[in-house]
Structure formats: C-alpha cells, structure tokens
C-alpha cells in the first residue's frame, strides 16, 4: 500500500511451498547406509521427515533452534501485549490483539514441529522456564510508548521475515512447513507496524517524535537479531552444510538493512546511523554494526527486561497449574466412565 511490502521476499515463500510439495515424491532409494542416505536426501534438496534416520547432532541442533524459535514467539507476546489495554483506537486494539494472538499460534506450530523430533512441549516449556533454553534477546527490550508497537512490527517482524523466509527451504520437513505458515502471517505483522509508524510520522509533532524515538531505540537491537558476525558464529557452518541455514548472519543482516533504508524514506523517519550510505561498488549499503558485546550481555541475562519477561512467564505457568491439573483430572474421570 505504501510500497513497503516485503513482497519479493514473500514470493519466495510460495515457491518454497511448491518445491516442498514436489520434494514429497522422493526418488532416492533407502539402503543400509543410513548416513549416506541422509546425505543424499539433503544434497538433493529433498526433506528429512520424522520417520527418517538422522544424525544425533542434526536432531539436537534442530530441537535447540526450533525450541528457541517457539519460546521467542511466546515471550514475544509480552512486549506488545503490554499495549493492548491502552491501544489508542478501537481499530488498533483489534489489530494488535489479532497480531499477538497470531504469535501464540506460531509458538504452537513450532512446538508441534519440535515434538516430531522426540521431545514433548512440556519438557520444552520446562527448559524455557528454568532458563536452560533461550529465546530471542530482542524481547528483553521494553515497549515504552505506543510507537514501540509500530517499531516492533516494522523492524522486529521485518527482521524475522528476512530470517525466516530461507527457513521455508530448511532440510527438515516439519520445520519448513511450519515456517511457511508462519511467514504468511508475518507479512501482515510487518505491514501493521509500518502503518502505525507511517500514521505517527505524519501526525502531530509529538507523534512524530514518538515514532523517531522508537526507531532510534529498536534499530540496533533489530540488527543484532541476526546473531553474531559470521566470524564469531559458532554453529553456522554445520547448519549450512545440513541446509538448516541457507545464508550467513551477515548476508541476512545486509539484506535487512537494504530493505529498511528504502522504507525509512517513505516513513520519513531517520535510521540512527550517521555512517549509513550507499556503496556503489558493492551495490549495498554500508552501515554501523550493532554492539555485539551488548548482544552477548543481553543473551546472558543482563538485558533491561530479562527478569521481568521470565518472571511473567513463570507466574502465568504457575498460576495456571491448578487449571491444567483440573483439566487432566476431568479428562481422566471421563475416560474411566467411558470404559
């Protein structure tokens, strides 16, 4: 509508979906050589399915990555959920409620994908709650004003799309299928964020200042969402070989910056980077890297909202324990009576 679309990227979701359907008719013969068979499937861009043999490290990597992704969707409900009660118009309230509800749905698809690898959702939730597994550190930043809801949609959902579109071609079938569903909804999230910022930026001076302040605060944490620079990324190479990952952190970060620059112009908002400029020779923008020491501190638990986010999740989980117990007991009574 404002030319902000991630449309070219999202077309890749559709083509990944078509390829995935074709890959279902698999023409590689299984033999006694399990590792060889696995390698052949991956090399042929076909999908590993839950019934297939897979290296233990592949399974573990996927569980860690999918779980972290699922946890991020669930924790990510908090910063935006924070503004549902105060949304400034009924239309915005409805859009935001629907968006946060989608994120819960994404969490569910992803937990279901992780369960195909032989771990239960309950176990994963336990690991989130006791801190053994992580979620995206972006959600450890606070939403201080309404404009933060716009900035999250534009930048955080935008970065998520850039990260996730290639995952629609991931070698593990259930993850690829979950990502196709998720990406289709993310485009709506990104657009609503863009619209919020666009309206604020073209509104009163206070609204415009609010929008700029939000972009100033969310820009670098959003760049950090792509992870450490390629040289420092621990699991990258193996994940690329397994075709879990298709592009490096730095490649994706660059793609994101290039897309945002053009959109910031339409928004009439400034990206807070004095060194941001078009590099004719590279055909890409030069930009300032985020503070990776800060990223590491936030990942380790020392961000502005780590405590609050975890505390909130733990409280919801423990407050709901009696309800879940009642549902279980009721179902057991029913099953007994049915016998």
């Amino acid at each position: 509508m404002y030319g902000n679309d991630f449309a070219p990227l999202l077309e890749q979701v559709d083509s990944a979906e078509r390829d995935l359907q074709q890959a279902a008719g698999r023409d590689v013969a299984a033999g006694a050589d399990l590792q060889g068979y696995f390698d052949t499937i991956v090399a042929a861009d076909q999908k590993i399915e839950p019934r297939d043999w897979m290296p233990e490290a592949y399974r573990k990597t996927l569980i860690r990555q999918i779980a972290q992704h699922a946890h991020s969707e669930i924790i990510g409900m908090q910063p935006e959920g924070n503004w549902i009660s105060r949304a400034p118009s009924l239309k915005r309230k409805a859009i935001l409620l629907a968006k946060v509800q989608d994120e819960a749905g994404h969490g569910l698809y992803l937990y279901a994908a992780a369960e195909t690898l032989g771990i239960s959702r309950d176990e994963l939730v336990e690991m989130l709650i006791d801190g053994r597994q992580k979620y995206s550190s972006i959600f450890n930043y606070p939403t201080l004003t309404w404009a933060d809801v716009g900035a999250i949609g534009w930048l955080v959902d935008g970065a998520a799309i850039v990260n996730q579109v290639p995952l629609c071609r991931c070698s593990y079938g259930p993850y690829a299928r979950a990502m196709i569903r998720v990406c289709k909804e993310e485009s709506f999230h990104q657009r609503q964020g863009f619209e919020i910022l666009h309206t604020l930026s073209h509104g009163t001076p206070e609204q415009k200042a609010m929008a700029q302040d939000a972009v100033d605060r969310w820009w670098y944490p959003s760049l950090a969402m792509f992870g450490p620079p390629d040289g420092d990324s621990t699991h990258s190479e193996r994940s690329m070989a397994w075709k879990i990952k298709r592009f490096t952190n730095d490649e994706l970060r660059q793609r994101f910056v290039d897309m945002c620059v053009q959109q910031a112009g339409i928004l009439d908002l400034r990206i807070p980077d004095p060194d941001l400029r078009w590099d004719e020779a590279r055909g890409q923008h030069d930009y300032t890297q985020p503070d990776y020491d800060e990223l590491m501190r936030v990942i380790k638990g020392d961000g502005p909202c780590n405590q609050e986010r975890m505390e909130h999740r733990r409280r919801a989980h423990s407050d709901g324990a009696w309800v879940r117990a009642a549902a279980r007991t009721y179902a057991e009574k029913r099953a007994k009576n049915a016998v």
Binding site: L90, L97, V100, Q101, R315, D319, A326
Partner: protein
Amino acid sequence: MSHVGYVLGLADDALVAAQRLGEWCSRAPEMEEDIALANIALDQLGVARMLLTYAGELEGAGRTEDDLAYLRSAHEFRNVRLVELDNGDFAVTMAKLLFLSVYQRLLYDRSIGVGDERVAAVAAKARKESAYHVDHSSRWVVRLGDGTEESNERMQAAVDLVWPYTDQLFEVDPDVHALSVAGVIVDPSTLRPAWLAAVDAVLAEATLTRPLDSDSSVVRRGEHTEALAKLLAEMQVLHRAHPGARW
C-alpha cells in the same frame, strides 16, 4: 432508557468484556487458552465497534466509535457491572464469561427479527460467535467444577462471587419495554427464564450449587463499581493525552 441508551448498553457490555479478556493475553493457563481468550475478546470488540458506530449515528451528534469509547467517563458508560469486575482467577473469568455469553446468545438470537434493522444485522453475525463463547465457557466451568477438589472450590467461589451481579442483565426498564412492545428491540427482562434454565444445566453438570437469589433491589445500568473508572483510566490514557490526533 432511550433507544440510544439501549444500544450503548449492548455496546458497552461488549467493549468492557473485551477489555477485561484482553488483560489475559500472555497470562492464560495454557497457550491454547491464550488464543481462545484473544479470540473471544476480538469477537466482543467487533460487536462493540459496530454498535458504538450505530449509537453515534442514532444520537446524531457526530460522535464516532472512538469518541464514545475514549471520551466518555465512567458514569456515562451503560454496561452492566458484571463485565467490569476484575478478572480474578481463571474460574472467576469463566463464571463471568458463562453468565454474559448465555445472556448475549439469547439476546442476539431473539434480536434477529426485530424492527431495529441495524441491531438485527449485528445480532445475526454475533449469535454464531456467542454460541462459541457459551460452549467454551461451559466446558471450562464443567471441567473446573468436576475437576480436582481445589478447582471445584475455586469454581464454586467464583459462581458465588459473580452471581449477585447477574440480576442487572435483566433490568426492567419502562422505555425499553415500550420499544419492545412496538417490536423495535428485545426486552432483556424476558430472557431470564431461558437464561436460568441454560445456566442451571451447566452448573448441575459441573456439580456446582446455584447460589440463592439476593433480594436486594436491582441496580440500574449506569451505576458502577469502583473497577470501571480504573479500567477506563488505563484504556483511555493514551487517546486522551493527544486530543484530536489520528492513530
């Protein structure tokens, strides 16, 4: 209560219910329930928006849905006190939702053929959503009532707490009665027997006891608990801080 007041009453019930249900977001006992409660909040909000827009038109003073939602004070709200009560624990929320949604389903069902075509159109859409709200809350009330000892106690306490506020749903109002005789709208006081029968059936299956009716006089719409002003202070704060701004 005038015709506008009647429409505002239906709208405000839905709006305040949506606001309370939205508070659950990211706090529900299960992830599936986060989704379900957000869904129901969205349904209520959708109805509220259509009816507020209509009430603004009926009033004829040029007020929009947002003017009515954000720029009225507590004493101008026409919702029943039931919907403004704090969420409490999950049992209180389910008791509130059961009592409200059974009432709304009956009201919408019977409003489909009324003379007020706008209300009839909203009702035709909302009745299907209401049927789902009734189903969802009934299942939980039964599960909790007939679940563990703790859940049974909590569910009974919730029903006892919320029950006295249900009277107000069936308030008898002479203006509304006159409009209903003319076939324009449904008189909510006529819904009570069907409402009681439906609620009784759920409570019985849930092994819960229906509280005795109090003999206190019925509170009129427009009279509120302390909770509403706080709810509105939060809901309206941003909108009111930027008079005339677009969002």
